[in-house]
């Protein structure tokens, strides 16, 4: 049993990580190693030419900035809108809570194409095409149900006795909320905020509908891909993945414990 298990795990791990290695390798390989009928698997030459071209052309920096700004705003707005709702959801009688959570679940199931079409038509009229504002508003529709779900689980896990004890010690309702409840909810808030950030960072469909010229990072990667430039694609994709791996690395400890129930939807 032991040996087959280990070799299967090794094979699965190879499958999980190998493609990312190839992406990194292509981004630093001389073209002769890659654009040939027999590409090499191990790096032989090493070049930073593709990275220099990617950053130099100035094509990638505006999308990078737009995506960073959008994702940051989406995370902040999602927490501001969803935290009060989740706090109150957690304090509702369970029948009500289940009904509302089921509603959120159903909203999450709606196809993006059916949201994107009318939103694009209206935003065109409102002059919100290509704008960060429009993109944030659109991304929130996908992010809010997930964030509200995760935060409801977070607030449910905080025992009411803690709040009651704070009230007995003379804290006002606001002091209790600020000094006790929110402090205890910080890990959950962090996970929810990071999830919102990640959703927005990689969102592709709504961005496609709402963009005429000012691309986001995923659209820029798609543009290089569409052009068939393997090297710029690989470098831009690596650039896009680096912050994600960093954040999910930070997230991983909490992923199982707090957020699985909501995060997966």
């Amino acid at each position: 049993m032991r040996a087959p298990t280990s070799s299967m795990l090794a094979l699965l791990a190879f499958w999980a990580v190998g493609p990312l290695y190839l992406m990194l390798k292509v981004s630093v390989s001389p073209p002769g190693e890659v654009m040939t009928a027999r590409p090499t698997l191990l790096p032989h030459g090493l070049t930073l030419e593709h990275w220099r071209r990617l950053l130099e052309a100035g094509q990638v920096l505006p999308p990078l900035g737009k995506s960073l700004l959008t994702a940051g705003l989406v995370a902040a707005a999602a927490l501001l809108l969803a935290a009060p709702a989740a706090y109150n959801l957690a304090r509702l009688p369970s029948r009500w809570r289940y009904g509302i959570l089921l509603g959120l679940f159903l909203v999450r199931m709606l196809p993006e194409v059916s949201i994107a079409l009318p939103v694009a038509v209206v935003f065109l009229r409102w002059g919100l095409m290509d704008s960060v504002t429009g993109l944030v508003l659109a991304h929130l529709t996908l992010v809010l149900p997930v964030v509200a779900w995760v935060l409801t689980t977070t607030f449910l896990a905080i025992p009411r006795e803690v709040e009651e004890a704070a009230a007995l010690d003379g804290c006002s309702a606001w002091q209790t909320l600020w000094r006790v409840t929110l402090r205890l909810a910080v890990p959950g808030l962090a996970v929810a905020g990071l999830l919102a950030w990640l959703f927005s960072w990689e969102e592709f469909l709504l961005a496609t509908y709402l963009t005429l010229g000012a691309k986001t990072m995923p659209l820029q990667v798609y543009y290089y891909l569409y052009q068939g430039n393997w090297f710029l694609t690989a470098a831009a994709a690596t650039l896009m993945t680096a912050p994600v791996l960093l954040l999910t690395g930070l997230l991983q400890r909490h992923l199982r414990a707090t957020s699985l129930a909501g995060a997966v939807r």
């Binding site: 049993m1 032991r2 298990t5 280990s6 299967m8 795990l9 090794a10 699965l12 999980a16 493609p19 990312l20 992406m23 292509v26 040939t36 009928a37 027999r38 590409p39 698997l41 809108l81 969803a82 009060p84 709702a85 109150n88 304090r91 009500w96 289940y98 959570l101 959120l104 679940f105 909203v107 199931m109 196809p111 993006e112 194409v113 059916s114 949201i115 079409l117 009318p118 939103v119 929130l140 529709t141 149900p145 509200a148 990689e202 592709f204 469909l205 496609t208 995923p218 990667v221 798609y222 891909l225 994709a237 896009m240 994600v244 991983q252 992923l255 699985l260 129930a261 997966v264 939807r265």
Partner: protein, 277 residues
């Protein structure tokens, strides 16, 4: 419900009503409204006569089916292997979870380097002697379906693995001890304990992933161009390339109905409590 709780819920509710429910409702309205006013099913008739639409429906279901089968199989294998506390469990778990955070468009870019005609899978297969000439992995419809499903599975198998791992961890160890005392083989334990008790986690993984699989968009578009239409890309091309919001809305409506059918079946089979746990 007290007023204070209502006030806290209101911003979220209003937002989702305005930016999600109203748009979806207006898409549905668009799909049945005649240009001159009134209700018509012409748009549905038009897409029904469009051979690409029929292909898109079949492709959507096929990619979802192949992808889900792969994800459940690999996810279950990984979860079962990890739960057995093998050597190096922690490092394996970290490595296996890596694709989860990778953006979908990056997954598409990565899979293009793997599945390209001069890509790395062909090179590995050539070196192993499994093939003589390079394979065009998106050249035929069958291969393209397989390639897109594999690319999807690469990204989301870690999620399925996490769900199943949580399900496995919830099974009490005493059950296995009792079964061993009674002389049950490993396979008997798996069939009589693991599989039945894992059913809630399996159905959850199935429905959560199933709905996402129906909505697949970036991977077929980036991997095959127009080569493999699915419902989402069909709706996208109808609107953004042919400027026809009505047929785009009609195909979105079909996608919505397919998803609702899947969710409805799930709720009926599993009971609403299972979704909400």
């Amino acid at each position: 419900m007290r007023p204070r709780e209502l006030v806290g819920l209101l911003p979220l509710a209003l937002y989702l009503a305005g930016f999600t429910v109203v748009p979806v409702a207006s898409t549905l309205a668009l799909s049945v409204s005649a240009p001159g006013g009134g209700i018509t099913l012409d748009h549905f008739r038009r897409i029904a006569g469009h051979y690409q639409f029929g292909e898109a429906v079949v492709n959507t279901v096929a990619v979802a089916g192949i992808g889900l089968a792969l994800e459940l199989l690999l996810g279950l294998a990984a979860a079962l292997a990890l739960i057995g506390r093998p050597a190096g469990r922690k490092i394996f778990q970290v490595l296996l979870l890596v694709p989860l955070g990778v953006p979908t468009i990056v997954a598409a870019a990565v899979m293009r380097t793997v599945f390209g005609t001069v890509g790395y899978l062909n090179e590995i297969l050539l070196r192993l002697g499994a093939i003589r000439t390079p394979v065009d992995w998106v050249g035929t419809r069958g291969l393209a379906l397989f390639t897109v499903a594999v690319a999807d599975a690469w990204k989301v198998t870690p999620l399925v693995m996490l769900i199943l791992l949580a399900g496995l961890q919830a099974i009490p160890g005493e059950l296995y001890e009792a079964a061993r005392t009674d002389g049950a083989s490993r396979w008997q334990q798996f069939a009589a304990i693991t599989l039945p008790l894992l059913k809630p986690a399996l159905t959850m993984a199935l429905i959560v992933r199933g709905v996402d699989a129906f909505r697949i968009f970036a991977l077929p578009l980036a991997l095959t161009g127009r080569g493999l239409p699915v419902l989402s890309t069909y709706a996208y091309v109808e609107y953004l390339e042919y400027g026809n919001p009505h047929t785009s809305a009609a195909s979105s409506a079909i996608l919505l109905i397919m998803i609702l059918l899947a969710v409805g079946t799930y709720l009926k089979l599993a009971g609403p409590e299972e979704v909400l746990r």
